[in-house]
Every structure is written in C-alpha cells, then in structure tokens.
Symmetry: C2
Subunit: 369 residues, 2 copies
C-alpha cells in the first residue's frame, strides 16, 4: 500500500484503537517516509481530543503511536535507521528480504539498537524521558513454515504477521491460505514454546501471531482468531476508506469488484508493465484482473504491454475501468476479500464496524454452544 | 481421488457417521464405478453390526448410504444414469462441466428423474419399497460466485460444495480460499433466501453449504463452520487412511510433506505429463511439487517431461520420493493442509478424532466467551 498508507490512514487507525502502519516502501531515497512521519506527528499533536490513548502515548513517550513497514530487498538500511532515529515509532514491520529471512538480522539488530546510545548518554539522568523509550517492536511477515522457523531462530520477532494467499499485493507466489497456514504455524509455536521443552527456537518469548490475507470484516477476523491468531491485519479493506491516499479510479475498482477469487489473480505482470524491478523471484502480487494481465496471458510481450500501460496512464481514473470498457490497464492490487467490501467509510467507522461484527459473532456462537 | 476413493473408503466413512463418496471419475466406460458400487453393497450387507444406521438405511430403502462423484466434462451421462438406476445411491456430486454450470442441467434432470418411471409402475402398490425411494441428493461443487449464481438459478442443488483454493487435486485455477469465498457465498444465499425477498434464485429451498479445501482436522472444520458452512468435506486427510486404495509411495509422500503452501502448487503439469486431456482451461490441480513440476518451470518440453514420467513409473514407490532423492516424478495430488497430517489412521478413527477436536474447540471457545 505504498503511497496509499500515508500519515492520515496510519494515524486514524491508531487513534481508533488499532495500530496503523505507514508504508515505507522499497525505494532508496525514502523521502516520502520522512515527510509522512513528520505529517503523522503533526496529526497526532493537533488531534482535537488529546485524551485519546494514542495522543497520550505520544506525549508521554515521544514515540509515534504507529509503525513503519519496509519492503526490505530495496531499502537503504542506514537511511531507514537514520529516519527512525529522528522519528521514533512503536513498531517496524519487515518483509521481503532479498535472499531469505536471515538477511533481516542486520535490520533487527539495527532497529533494536536504535536508542541504546542515547540511553547511555542519559545514564546520569534516571528520570529522563528517553530512558522510557524502548526500541520499536519487530514485526516480521511470513508466509511459510520455512520462513517462520528461520525468523524464530534468528530474529526473535515480537510479532509474526502470517500472510495467507488471499492477501492483496505482494507475497510468496506459492503459499497456503490462513485456513491451513495459521494452524501449521501455531502448531510449530506450540511445539517449541511449551514450558517443558527447551529448543533453539524458544530462548525468547513466543511472538504474537497476527493474521493477514482476506480479512475484510469481523467474521473473517473471528475465523482467524479461532485458527490461532491473536489479532488480524487488514489492508484491502482500508483502500476503501476516506483516509486512504488513493485515486477515485482505484477506489471505485475496489468497490465494484465481486467474486474475489476470480476477479483477482496472483501474477508478476503488474510489476513488469510498471517496470518495477527487484522483487525476488519467489514473490508475486495479487491484483484485480485487467487488460494488462489478459494481454500477457494472451502472449503479448512485456515491452508492448508496458507501452500500452504507459499510454493508459493518460486516461486518468478511467484507466481503472477494465470491467466497464474492457480497456483498463491501471494496476489495482487487492485481496480476494474485495467482494466483501461495499462502501467507503472512515477508518474509525471501519474499526468500530469490525469490532461490532466480532461481538455479533461472539453472541451468535455463545447462543449455539 | 479417482481410484483411491473406492468402496472401502466410502463405506467406512458412511458407517462412521459421515457420508462417503466413490470417485466415479471422468472416463467414458465407468467400469470401475459399477464394480465399486457392487463392492460397496457387499461391504454394507456383510458389515458385522447391522444396527449401524448406514446398514439400516440400506436395508430399509435399498439405497446405498453413500454418494458418487463425477467429473462431468468426461463422463457418458447415459451410461452413468444406467449404473445409478442399477445401484441406487444417496447423493450425486457434480463437478467440472465442460463449458459451465448450465451444462449440468441435463445431469440434474436425469438424476432427479431416475426412479420416477419405476414409481409410476408401482402406483397400485402403495406399500411398495420403491415408493419410498427418493432421487439422490444433488451436490454441486463450486469455487466462485459466478458458478454459485448459475447453480442456484438453474440447478437448485440440495448441497453446494464450496471448494477453496487450498484444496488438493483439480479446481478452478483462479479462486479464493474459504476465508473469503465462504462469506461471499453465504452473503449471496442470505440475500436471496430471506423470507421477505422473492427472486429467481429462491424458488427452492436454500442449499446446504459444505466447505472443502484445507480441512484436515476439527480446528479447520470449526473455522469454516464459523464462516458460514453447515459441514465440511475432507479429501487429502483420507489419503492417509487405511481404507484408501493408495500406494505406499503416495501415502508416505503425504505424511512427509510439511509447509503445505510451499510444498504444493497449483499447476496443469501433472495432467500434461500423464497425458490426461480434456480438462477445461479454467481448471488446474494442486499437487506436491516434484521433479516434473520443476523441470516444466525450467523450460523442459511436455514431451520430454512425459517421457521421463513414463520411465519413472518403473521405480514403483520410489517414484514418489522427490524430497528424498530429488528424482521423484509420480503425481501426488494434495491440498495445502498436508502439513497437518501426521499419521495413517482408520477412517472411523479419523472421523472420531475430528469430532473430538470440534468438541475441544467448542469447550475452548465457551471458556473464552
């Protein structure tokens, strides 16, 4: 959700009782990230209700009540750490290292060590605010047992984001949905973190498990809680929020799409037509089927497909109207839950709606048990 | 599960309180089906405990307490109906018509009309057993909203089997997992079958919704019940049963496989190397990654890949040992839940285990609510 999950979306989510993430992305300059973090701090500071827990957290700790996500194969680590030193955040989400999870060790150490020097400097001032500043939580996104095992062994994440195959945007091309991935990961955790066993994986506390991929409402969230998650992560749902930094064409395409498993597809075509290079081979991305995809399947060269894409950009919002005029070529990353999304709401309304739906599910289940 | 889900597996499942299906398959001769149905009737008749509800059902109705599944693009309908007239079954499961769901109308009418003539003949004998014989239930397998809509409109199925992308074997190449597919189908049903609305879809009773695709234990089954299903269908789990008609090589490959989303893949390669022609283009099948798949991805021609496959058949059970020696080429259709399957059990034990796990989930949920 690069350039979509900016400061307004992330802060609104944190103000609503969740935790929002700013998409730090994969570019080497990271210039948007710094702007976004600055903007986020302004939004929190100027929020009319400073008794909101997110505002109080910021005032008391100097830490922004939100996280930053990185697509690690393409980010300059030193530059990222420099920004995170300047703008303290509550969590850092790591995803898609070039060669494998072990690539993230330098990142994890870098993030965990962010404020240590400062705390050393403050050693004489035991009341100083910075002493209370702990390093950001480390969130690691995985989509397989192999990635989980390496992450547990080497990275000791605070949170594992378990991404199933229904997720929109990039993820492992070969992956299970949460239906089987969550139980398989939960079993692995249960095996290694029982009090009686001592393995190389359990030298640290077990991570919190969050589910991602297909979560669009309280019902889908509830199902993943049953399957072993402690909470859930939503992406596509927030594309249809007022706070998303998104063009009307993209947002309307989300609202229109139904039959999410058929109207979306996992492919590398959308990177190729947009000339985005660098994703490791094991990844692809799920987006709404459009003319670029069908032409690629039909045998069109990437060069020609890209030329048509670049040309299409001139059409503005109409470039997303694939299902209206058959010509749309703008990329619409979205998960299979897209058919469950019917209206654009404020982020706060979405959060309240989801929690209300979870409460409904609880009531319904209680009545049946 | 053609040639695997034969009479012993299907009858054991029905005797254990579920309903088993014999794979009728897609060949035009259907000769194995007739043999299997004959075998099933022998197994039920000779079961030591004739007070078992499945045995009593058979004695009282003359209907075998099981179903038959067809892969419809390749089956001779008249021949299939002839067999079903001879061996009465409780349910007929239809899947993969050549061009779309409407192709199944002739099948549905044929199956529903199976015993009408007979009943007309018996009109004077109001006590005759055949009068009590109703037509088999119609089970329709779908993986999309489009298929569901057509099925509801034209076929009025008794049961909709909702197959998510985690399923082993064949299914729609582009599909969502149960996480989003089940809620989207449930919403469609709820919309059309509320008492206040009257639409072309709801002239009949709403179908029973069963979930398929990734269900390997009571936990995954429970999650799909929460998502809107009334029950679940398991395939891959029963590959690891004593009653499956399966080679040790295939069965061991199921037990060995972990990390189901990575160790399996959706592809048409396994049809191509085995020279199976006729699957409509919208389908592929999920199987365990092996040398055939990796060679195909590496650019090997189907002809050469097939030659190696045919050669591999001489190795017997070792032909499945891809993950042992890197050479295995035998096809191992399996769902992403394969990593949750750890032992071969009797069908009855599997059913009792799953029900026990569902009861555990209920207890656990009750304690938390």
């Amino acid at each position: 959700m690069l350039n979509i999950a900016t400061a307004p979306l992330a802060t609104s989510l944190s103000l609503a009782g969740g935790i929002g993430f700013i998409a730090g992305g994969y570019d080497t300059t990271l210039s948007n990230l710094e702007t976004n973090l600055h903007h986020a701090s302004q939004l929190i500071k100027s929020h009319p209700d400073q008794s909101n827990p997110a505002c109080k957290f910021y005032t008391q700790t100097g830490v922004l009540p939100l996280g930053v996500g990185f697509i690690n194969w393409g980010v300059d680590r030193n530059e990222a750490l420099r920004i995170l030193r300047r703008y303290r955040v509550a969590a850092v989400w790591l995803f898609a290292p070039r060669d494998g999870m072990r690539d993230l060790l330098g990142w994890v150490n870098g993030v965990r060590g962010l404020y240590q020097e400062e705390q050393m400097d403050d050693v004489d001032d035991s009341k100083s605010k910075s002493k209370e500043t702990t390093a950001p939580q480390i969130w690691i996104q995985i989509s397989s047992i192999a990635e989980t095992t390496t992450a547990l062994k080497h990275l000791h994440p605070d949170v594992l984001v378990i991404q199933g195959s229904d997720a929109g945007g990039h993820g492992l091309a070969r992956s299970a949905s949460l239906i089987t991935l969550l139980p398989e990961v939960s079993n692995l955790i249960a095996e290694h973190y029982t009090p009686s066993t001592k393995t190389v994986l359990n030298e640290h506390q077990p991570p919190t498990l969050l589910a991602a991929g297909g979560l669009t409402n309280g019902l889908t969230l509830s199902a993943t809680l049953l399957l072993g998650a402690t909470g859930g992560v939503m992406g596509t749902r927030f594309l249809a929020s007022h706070e998303a930094h998104i063009t009307p064409g993209y947002q309307n395409a989300i609202l229109r799409a139904v039959d999410g498993g058929v109207s979306t597809v996992r492919t590398t075509v959308y990177d190729r037509v947009r000339d985005i290079k660098g994703w490791p081979e094991r990844y692809d991305g799920r987006g709404i089927v459009n003319a670029s995809y069908l032409d690629a399947v039909g045998g069109m060269s990437d060069e020609e497909n890209r030329r048509l894409y670049v040309n299409e950009m001139k059409r503005g919002d109409e470039g997303w109207d694939w299902d209206v005029d058959g010509r749309g070529r703008m990329t619409t990353y979205a998960g299979t839950g897209v058919g469950l999304i019917k209206e654009v709401l404020g982020v706060g309304e979405i959060v309240r709606q989801v929690w209300g739906e979870v409460a409904d599910v609880k009531r319904r289940v209680r009545a049946r048990l």
